[in-house]
């Protein structure tokens, strides 16, 4: 299995619900807590596994706002795993989920240095690295109804912009939607082969702008008459 997410950038409205649902589920999950530092103070900060950025692309009138959620890509060539000296960072054989074993992590930050997507954050209070678990404590929970065995971010997304599934199964929803829309890798140049795919925004329908016509003799006369009348 090769579990991962597909994010449809055409559907994402940038509401941050996935980041909140992630924080809510995982703070009491296996990697919990997602520590907050100074949460009610002047300069709050804290651990998040999912961040949503907002971009503007192109120039008017072809410009577009793109909301861009980023979490762990569960890369096939996960550099965060190979650089880890202790063996705390690992990629599961059975489903490809990249996890951190907090019992082994020494908090050297090296995996965060190796990750181009900013998917790893050090919990300064516990002294261990934390990251997206793809809700491993949810997707295999047999007490949950089958329809709810999905990551919290996917469950909560109000526009269904996020898909979860097995990329090794060609009939899975993620495989189909990714091949139909040409799912894209983020920052592919680095060669880490991210599993998560992004569906690029479709081209915007071109709206013709009203063109200003060259003034002919009739319009010139009309304009002149209008001016005179206004006086």
């Amino acid at each position: 299995m090769r579990l991962g997410l597909v994010v449809d950038l055409d559907k994402c409205v940038g509401c941050n619900a996935c980041a909140i649902a992630c924080k809510q589920w995982n703070t009491s999950g296996t990697s919990g807590s997602l520590t907050d530092y100074n949460p009610y103070g002047a300069d709050p900060s804290g651990v998040f596994f999912n961040r949503i950025r907002h971009y503007e692309t192109g120039n008017y009138p072809e410009n577009k706002t793109v909301h861009f959620p980023m979490s762990c890509m569960h890369c096939e060539e996960a550099a965060c795993v190979t650089v880890c000296p202790t063996g705390a960072s690992y990629k599961r054989e059975e489903d490809g989920i990249v996890l951190v074993d907090p019992e082994k992590c020494m908090g050297c930050n090296y995996c965060a240095w190796a990750c181009p997507y900013g998917a790893r954050e050090l919990d300064r209070e516990e002294g261990v690295m934390k990251k997206c678990t793809l809700c491993v404590d949810r997707i295999y929970d047999e007490k949950l109804p089958k329809s709810e065995r999905k990551p919290a971010c996917v469950m909560t997304c109000p526009t269904s912009a996020r898909y979860f599934g097995d990329f090794d199964d060609p009939n899975s929803e993620v495989s189909r939607v990714s091949s139909d829309r040409g799912g894209q890798d983020l920052f592919a140049e680095l060669g880490y082969k991210p599993v998560n795919k992004y569906l690029s925004p479709r081209d915007k329908v071109q709206v013709n702008q009203h063109e200003i016509r060259e003034p002919n003799l009739v319009t010139k006369v009309k304009d002149w008459v209008n001016k005179v009348v206004e006086l």
Binding site: S45, V66, V83, L122, G191
Partner: protein
């Protein structure tokens, strides 16, 4: 990158320590017609061991969870950090046995064995410095580090510092070093040359904001503007990677490191060798050189830009 002093100290000081023992064994191996007496040999070896041990201890200070530091040798198959740690630990018994052999005059009884052994120590200690450099050079996410010139710099700078200490201790113990002065001077010049090459190699940014988003957002133009980073406060990532320092300050530190680390020590040793023989010049050269190399290493971190900054609004890295 945030320049953590513990890591700067570790890379400079342990680099100098490993280079010093390396240089001593190379000297012993090449046997320049001058056998270093046991006393001086041990002074140099112990200075080296003190330096690299201090460095290794310092490296654990930046760990958030140091109680698991003993696990740091586990994944030596893929991780340069684990390789460095493992070799550093294995080096202790190997060096101890070597020093024991020197102590019992093995060099006289079994010359060939000690020749091989000296070469082995030279190789391992140089490889350890190489591993330290590769910890940084293997990261594709930091273009300013991801070059072969990183480990080359670590090795040459380690050897330049070691050469100064080696020269100092030999002179202190009354050795005639006249025929080695040129080696010391060329070592400093060579390390400066490799450092300047490094600065030349990293002069241009490698990735821009479009590289980081283009594939996913599929843009026709490279005109991408970040409207919002998705967090109102600082995060671990902005603290660790978002270290910003004024270009002017970087430039000043660069000038300081080049003069204090290379040029002034070069002329001090030159003066000592050919004009005015006073051992204080040698110790001043060592002191200034350490200051220069520490600031060089600070620059190495402060100048490095992690690609994750592209998602935080930095135009290029």
């Amino acid at each position: 990158m945030h320049p953590a002093f513990s890591v700067i100290f570790f890379t400079v000081v342990s680099g100098a320590g490993y280079a010093l023992i390396s240089l001593l064994c190379l000297f012993n191996f090449l046997n320049f017609g001058m056998l270093i007496d046991k006393n001086t040999f041990f002074i140099i070896a112990i200075t080296s061991a003190v330096l690299f041990t201090m460095g290794l201890i310092s490296s654990t200070f930046h760990l958030a969870n140091p109680k698991n530091a003993w696990r740091a040798f586990m994944r030596f198959k893929t991780s340069w950090l684990a390789r460095e740690g493992l070799l550093a630990i294995l080096f202790y018994p190997i060096l101890a046995l070597y020093l024991y052999f020197i102590y019992i005059d093995m060099q006289i009884n079994n010359f060939m064995l000690m020749q091989y052994y000296s070469f082995l120590i030279f190789t391992i200690s140089t490889v350890i410095i190489y591993c330290t450099g590769m910890i940084y050079a293997c990261l594709k996410t930091i273009p300013q580090w991801n070059t072969i010139w990183t480990p080359i710099n670590y090795i040459t700078i380690g050897f330049a510092l070691a050469a100064l200490i080696f020269f100092f201790i030999l002179n202190l113990n009354g050795y005639d070093t006249t025929s080695y002065e040129n080696y010391i001077l060329s070592m400093i010049a060579f390390s400066l040359a490799t450092k300047l090459t490094y600065y030349f190699v990293i002069r241009l940014p490698k990735y821009n904001i479009a590289d980081a988003t283009n594939a996913a957002v599929k843009l026709k133009s490279t005109n991408v503007r970040l409207l919002d980073v998705g967090h109102t406060g600082g995060t671990f990532l902005t603290d660790e990677f978002g270290y910003k320092v004024a270009e002017r300050k970087l430039f000043r530190i660069k000038i300081l490191s080049i003069f204090s680390g290379f040029i002034i020590p070069f002329f001090l040793i030159y003066t000592y060798s050919f004009i005015y023989e006073n051992i204080a010049l040698c110790s001043l050269a060592i002191f200034l050189s350490f200051i220069g190399m520490i600031s060089e290493r600070w620059l190495f971190f402060a100048q490095a830009k992690h690609v994750v900054n592209l998602y935080h609004g930095v135009e290029n890295v």
